[in-house]
């Protein structure tokens, strides 16, 4: 069986979603399988045009910090989150959306980027994904 990395994306913060997608793409690039379970604030990122809408986890400064970091990233030629997600899907990465979060926050399926989502599930889905995983992270 192929080694697997399973990530819980709980935070919707811009820097943390970057971490989740970079680690997941890294795992796929090293020949592993990868799944990301998007829950809570992380699930907000699956909304249409929502991937880069979160604040910075620190020094957001009402968006000024985020703007500065984004411009520094652009200068350093860091790819966009949309491109990372596109690559993640192309390499066979799996996206799971948390159903309970959808219920709590009143998010409907049609509000989400459903073309990215492979499965809608709850904690049991995460455990089944993670129990044989070599790497599991909560971000």
């Amino acid at each position: 069986m192929t080694d697997k990395a399973v990530i819980v994306a709980h935070s919707g913060d811009l820097d943390k979603i970057y971490s989740a997608l970079i680690v997941a793409n890294g795992a796929l690039s090293m020949g592993m399988d990868a799944s990301i379970f998007f829950t809570f604030w992380g699930l907000q990122c699956l909304k249409k045009n929502g991937l880069d809408k979160g604040p910075l986890s620190r020094m957001n400064l009402l968006g000024l910090g985020k703007w500065m970091v984004k411009s520094r990233m652009k200068k350093a030629n860091v790819v966009s989150l949309d491109k990372l997600m596109e690559d993640y899907k192309e390499l066979g990465g799996k996206v799971i959306a948390c159903e309970m979060t959808m219920e709590i926050m009143g998010i409907k399926e049609e509000e989400l980027n459903s073309q990215w989502i492979d499965e809608y599930g709850a904690v049991g889905t995460y455990i089944m994904e993670a129990k044989d995983a070599k790497i599991t992270l909560f971000i």
């Binding site: 970079i22 793409n25 890294g26 796929l28 690039s29 090293m30 020949g31 350093a76 030629n77 860091v78 790819v79 990372l84 690559d87 192309e90 390499l91």
Partner: protein
């Protein structure tokens, strides 16, 4: 046998690794992939990825302008 060239000069983490993986997935056994890049960590990590996937690194070539070229055989 076909040869695929990928140019990731100027690209940073994780693009060189990801583009390399994409090309490997598309290649047929026996095909060769040549990656040209400048990102320092990827020069080490692409051969690491190849080792993890059981692929042969035919050549790692470094020139003076911080550019490197890696040839992989699927």
């Amino acid at each position: 046998m076909t040869e695929t060239n990928i140019d990731v000069r100027g690209q940073t983490c994780p693009v060189p690794l990801v583009e390399c993986r994409k090309a490997i997935r598309k290649a047929a056994p026996g095909d060769e992939i040549i990656i040209l890049g400048t990102h320092p960590a990827s020069k080490k990590e692409i051969p690491m990825a190849c080792e993890a996937m059981g692929l042969e690194v035919v050549e790692v070539d470094e020139n003076t302008d911080k550019e490197w070229k890696i040839r992989i055989k699927k």
